[in-house]
Subunit: 300 residues, 2 copies
């Protein structure tokens, strides 16, 4: 099989799917993005979905990463253990057929700190390959389950997960705070107030104040005028304090969605006092494409 | 109106309702408990619901407490401010008619720490009246929104809320951990392990380990065999460490549901090393009835 020509890279997550046709010079020739995440596909429907991707983007070799390799995806692809790099990911690829492979996730089989990731490892390998992060670094991938990852000598050696994004979603959709959390989450004064409040280390005890303030109709500035931003700052600040403590206070690189990375970079700048952190933000989609490209480079 | 005869006490909450006919000697002569909480009653339907209670329990004077006095209840009863006692609650009663009153909740109008409660104040007044707690004490009322309350000279002077119960419910119903949290929550080894883990002050970062351990199929005892109990211990331990710090480490009295109080008492005993805390647990329903009885004593 010839991996020297163009190929299709697919980031197939739980609720969304993105796919790109990458040309021989590494440029994006075509792409699609839709809501056909793995939970939207019936069991047995993945081969047809992959065929549809080829109909759209070209009849080409295809490498997939993310939750598509989980027990609810196309094939349950075993995790490769830390330390992990492009080479070990390549060895763990499960081939559906000779030109369709699923990249494995990474596990940390420490009984005291068990961890798993699927998808972030591709972004990290890509950032290392493009040298947008150094080969010794701490990386934060914000998301539903935010990952903090220690990279040593270009390998993923240790990581930890915070459920920050999921908790924020639960609070804003299902909790008693939901009616208050309808505003746009952004890195302004309310977000900064939440980050400051996180220093008390008592997020569980600070969230209810949002509702009490609303019920008591206390005047601004005592009420956060944007409760969603305040809650986001409180939760992200809580995560970041714990993560910085666990990762030796080393300023992280942020890989992911621009809006989430902006919030994390703002919280980080506020806490570490390091000024503008935006130069430490890396686009997650570009990093994913670079990762698949690097893995295909190992196949050549 | 004669408040010297029997009366009906109603604890009307968000999802449940309990009512008792209390005789002249203070004994419970009849009672009912059902799911007709305020969210199950259409707007304008409360008078008919109260008439139904009288049909069942007798055509008697009636005093109601709890969320029935909230903006989603029968009448939005203004909170009385801290410090609050039986006398100030009586002054804040809103009378639907001369023999049907709703007891107010209590607020803390501190812009730095706004707080509200509805229902717990009745339990606390009752426990003070019955001398089951001393007139200077710290009280913890576990629940969806757990309250910690400082009592000085028989008055509620200060309190704080933790969203522990709601967060546990969100995680066990809607989160990625939900499929793991189906076991019965009890104060055994897994609960104790959660309480121990809470010392790290990083609940957001420790919860995901439950899922990772399950995915990696790590053998016991590294996995908590009952994830619900572990998560409960982690969250209650997190609350308790923050609350004890805020309330000067004073061992609390627990007023509420027997099952919840047992969990809190176990966490407290584990953390403060004070041995069996069960003698500090007070039945919430008995405390509520005592509170309504004490308030009616002020009306006589």
């Amino acid at each position: 099989l010839d991996w020297h020509g163009p190929f299709i890279a697919v980031d197939w997550g739980t609720t969304n799917r993105r796919a790109w046709r990458i040309g021989v010079d590494g440029t994006v020739e075509d792409s699609l993005s839709d809501g056909a995440g793995i939970t939207a596909v019936r069991a047995g429907g993945f081969a047809a979905e992959a065929a549809t991707l080829r109909d759209r983007l070209g009849d080409l070799p295809m490498l997939l990463g993310g939750m598509i390799g989980s027990d609810r995806g196309w094939r349950n692809v075993p995790y490769v253990s830390c330390p992990a790099d492009a080479c070990s990911l390549v060895q763990g690829i499960v081939w559906i057929d000779p030109r369709t492979g699923i990249v494995p996730g990474v596990s940390q089989r420490d009984p005291q700190a068990p961890e798993v990731m699927r998808g972030e490892e591709v972004q990290i390998i890509g950032s290392l390959a493009h040298r947008t992060i150094p080969s010794d670094a701490v990386v934060c991938c914000p998301g539903t389950h935010s990952k903090w990852v220690r990279i040593e000598a270009g390998r993923i050696v240790r990581f930890a997960t915070w459920m920050t994004g999921e908790l924020f979603a639960l609070l804003s959709r299902h909790s008693i705070l939901a009616p208050l959390m309808t505003g746009k989450t952004e890195a302004g004064a309310d977000f900064a107030a939440g980050v400051t409040a996180s220093a008390e280390g008592d997020a569980l005890g600070q969230l209810f104040a949002l509702r009490a303030a609303a019920l008591l109709d206390l005047p601004p500035p005592e009420i956060a005028s944007n409760a969603a931003s305040y809650a986001s700052g409180l939760l992200i600040g809580t995560e970041m304090r714990a993560a910085l403590a666990r990762f030796d206070g080393q300023a992280p690189w942020f890989i992911g969605r621009a809006d989430l990375c902006a919030l994390y970079a703002a919280a980080n700048a506020q806490m570490l006092g390091g000024g503008d952190q935006r130069q430490r933000v890396i686009d997650g989609e570009a990093a994913f494409r670079a990762g698949i490209t690097a893995i295909i480079g190992e196949l050549r």
